[in-house]
C-alpha cells in the first residue's frame, strides 16, 4: 500500500489517530487508551499485516516522553511509524512483546535508559546497565554523571 492509501485505510480503522506525512514514512499518533486495540488491528488485519518491528525507541522531549515504533510488513513492504506521548513523571505503556517478540529486548533497553514502565512485560529487568543501578535514566536529557561523562 502506498502512503496515501495507508492513511485512508488507517483513518477508517483508527478514528482517534492523527497523521503526519512530513517524513519518509507515514507517522501515526495514537493516544495511550487506544494503543492496544490499534496494535491488534495493525498486526492482524490481513491487508495491513505489520509483522516486522524493526526499530523501537523512545525520545525525551523534556516536557514528555515519546515512544516510537517503526513497523514494516514483510509481505507488502509498507512502513509505518507509530508515536505515543507518555507522561514524563509516570511513563507507562502496555508491552507489545507478545506480538513482536523482538520488543522484549528493546523494551528492556527503553525501561532502563528512559524509565518507561512496560505493563505486563514478561521480564522487565536491567539489561545493559549494571546490577544495582537505581532510578537515574541515562538517556534522559537531564541525566548528569560528573564522574563518567565528559562535556564537550
Amino acid at each position: 500500500m502506498s502512503k496515501d492509501e495507508l492513511k485512508i485505510k488507517l483513518a477508517e480503522l483508527i478514528p482517534s489517530a492523527t497523521f503526519d506525512e512530513s517524513g519518509e514514512w507515514l507517522n501515526i499518533n495514537i493516544t495511550p487508551p487506544d494503543f492496544m486495540s490499534s496494535i491488534e488491528i495493525l498486526r492482524n488485519k490481513v491487508e495491513l499485516n505489520f509483522d516486522y518491528l524493526f526499530c523501537q525507541t523512545c525520545i525525551d522531549w523534556k516536557t514528555h516522553l515519546m515512544m516510537v515504533y517503526h513497523l514494516e510488513s514483510t509481505a507488502y513492504r509498507h512502513q509505518l511509524v507509530i508515536k505515543i506521548q507518555l507522561d514524563r513523571n509516570k511513563p507507562e505503556i502496555e508491552t507489545v512483546s507478545h506480538i513482536w517478540r523482538t520488543a522484549e529486548f528493546h523494551e528492556r533497553e527503553v525501561y532502563e535508559m528512559f524509565g518507561v514502565n512496560f505493563l505486563n512485560h514478561p521480564d522487565l529487568r536491567l539489561l545493559i546497565l549494571p546490577d544495582g543501578w537505581e532510578g537515574r535514566n541515562p538517556l534522559r536529557k537531564d541525566f548528569e554523571d560528573p564522574v563518567n561523562m565528559i562535556k564537550l
Partner: protein, 380 residues
C-alpha cells in the same frame, strides 16, 4: 563449607530430579562468546531450559555520546560499534545525514563506497568462517581465513590508513581518493580468493562431522525470525527475504547483478550456507565494479558546518550481520537531538534463547557462532 568430593558422594548426584536444575555462567570472558557477553544458562542434565544474556560489559553509551557530537563527528564513533563492518556503519550514518541535507553523492564516490562495503563484508565473513569453525573445534580454517583477510586489511590500510576502524566515509562522499595501487591489489585479491573459496568449501562445508554439528541445530522458523526481528544471514537462513540491498537499494546496488541468497533449512547449516554463498556474491560485485570506477569528484560540495533541518531521518543499510538502521531526530541544530542505532546483533541475539531452548549445551556454541555475534555492536 562443602568439599567437592563430599558433594559427589551424596546419593542422587547428577540426577536432575533430585538436585533440580543447574545454572551455569558462560562468559563474560569466554573464547566462544567473541567478546564480553555473559550468558546465564539453566540446564537440566545437558538440555538447555533457558538462556539469559546479560549485556553491557562494553556499553559505551554511544547514543548519548552522539548527542554532543556534530553531524560530521558522530559518524566516526559508529566505527567502534560493529568493528567488523565499520565501513558499512559509517555508510549508514552518511546516508542518513545526506538524506537530511539532500546531498547528491558523485558517482565515483558511490562506486568506491560500494566497493569498500563489499570488501568489508568479505573480510567480516572470512573472520566469521574462521572463528566459527574454531568454536566448533576445527582450528585450521582460522589460519586460512586470516591469510585472506590480511589481504583485504592491506588494501584498506593503503587507502584508508587504518586496518579495522576505517573512518573513510564523510557526508557527501569519501574522505580521499583510492590509492593508485588499489585496483591492482583488489585484482590480486580476487584472483587469489576465487581459488581459495572453493578450498573453504572442500575443507569445511562437505565435512561430515561439521554437518552433523550444524544440521537440525538451532531451529528458527520463518515466522519466528520475523517476529524476533532477525535480519541478515540469520533470517535468510530461515527463508525470509530481508536483504536491504535488494529491497531498498542505495548507491549503485540497483545497477548491479547479484542474487539475494535465501536458504530454507532454518537451522545452523542453512545460515552457514547463506554466508558462504554471500561471499561469492560479494566477490562478483567487487569484480563488476573494480574496472568501472567512473572518473570525477570523490566528494560533493558541502558546507563546513552541517545543520540538519528539523525533522526525523531514518536510513537502512545491510551490514555483514543484517539490517543496520540509523534514526536521527534533529531540532535544526548542529548536533542531533536524539540518535538511535538499530543494530542487527541486538535483535539477532534476542532469538538466541528461542533457538537454544531444548537443545544440548554443546550446540549452544554452534548456534552462537552461526548468528555471528559482535558484542560491541550489541552493547553500543
Amino acid at each position: 563449607m562443602y568439599r567437592e568430593t563430599e558433594i559427589l558422594k551424596q546419593p542422587g548426584v547428577g540426577d536432575p530430579d533430585v538436585f533440580g536444575d543447574m545454572v551455569i555462567n558462560i562468559g563474560p570472558q569466554h573464547p566462544s562468546t567473541h567478546g564480553v557477553l555473559h550468558l546465564v544458562i539453566t540446564l537440566n542434565g545437558e538440555t538447555i531450559k533457558k538462556v539469559e544474556p546479560h549485556l553491557g560489559y562494553i556499553h559505551r553509551s554511544i547514543e548519548k555520546m552522539c548527542e554532543s557530537l556534530s553531524f560530521r563527528q558522530f559518524i566516526y564513533v559508529t566505527s567502534k560499534m560493529d568493528y567488523l563492518s565499520s565501513h558499512i556503519n559509517n555508510h549508514g550514518c552518511c546516508l542518513c545525514v545526506e538524506k537530511g541535507m539532500q546531498i547528491e553523492v558523485p558517482p565515483r564516490a558511490q562506486v568506491i563506497r560500494v566497493l569498500m562495503d563489499e570488501l568489508t563484508r568479505l573480510a567480516s565473513h572470512q573472520l566469521w568462517w574462521g572463528a566459527g569453525a574454531m568454536d566448533i573445534g576445527a582450528l585450521t580454517p582460522f589460519f586460512y581465513a586470516f591469510r585472506e583477510r590480511e589481504m583485504i586489511n592491506d588494501i584498506m590500510e593503503e587507502t584508508c590508513g587504518t586496518r579495522l576502524t576505517m573512518n573513510y566515509m564523510v557526508p557527501g562522499g569519501v574522505m580521499t581518493d583510492v590509492h593508485p595501487n588499489f585496483q591492482k591489489r583488489v585484482h590480486q585479491f580476487i584472483d587469489h580468493f576465487k581459488k581459495k573459496i572453493d578450498e573453504y568449501d572442500e575443507l569445511l562445508t562437505g565435512n561430515v562431522i561439521f554437518q552433523h554439528r550444524m544440521k537440525g541445530v538451532g531451529y528458527l522458523s520463518k515466522e519466528d525470525a520475523i517476529s524476533y526481528g532477525c535480519t541478515g544471514p540469520t533470517a535468510r537462513g530461515s527463508g525470509v527475504n530481508c536483504d536491504i540491498r535488494k529491497l531498498f537499494p542505495y548507491e549503485v546496488y540497483n545497477k548491479l547483478q547479484f542474487d539475494e541468497i535465501i536458504e530454507t533449512g532454518c537451522d545452523c547449516f542453512a545460515r552457514y550456507l547463506v554466508r558462504m554463498k554471500e561471499m561469492r556474491e560479494s566477490l562478483s560485485i567487487v569484480e563488476q565494479l573494480i574496472d568501472n570506477i567512473p572518473e570525477g569528484d570523490i566528494q560533493a560540495k558541502t558546507k563546513a558546518v552541517l545543520k540538519l533541518p528539523k525533522g526525523e531521518y531514518y536510513s537502512r543499510v545491510e551490514t555483514a550481520r543484517g539490517e543496520f538502521g540509523v534514526y536521527i531526530v534533529s531540532e535544526g541544530g548542529t548536533t542531533p537531538y536524539r540518535i538511535k542505532f538499530r543494530s542487527p546483533g541486538y535483535s539477532n541475539l534476542s532469538a538466541l534463547d528461542h533457538m537454544a531452548r531444548g537443545g544440548k549445551i554443546g550446540d549452544l556454541v554452534a548456534i552462537m557462532a552461526m548468528i555471528d555475534l559482535v558484542i560491541p555492536d550489541i552493547d553500543r
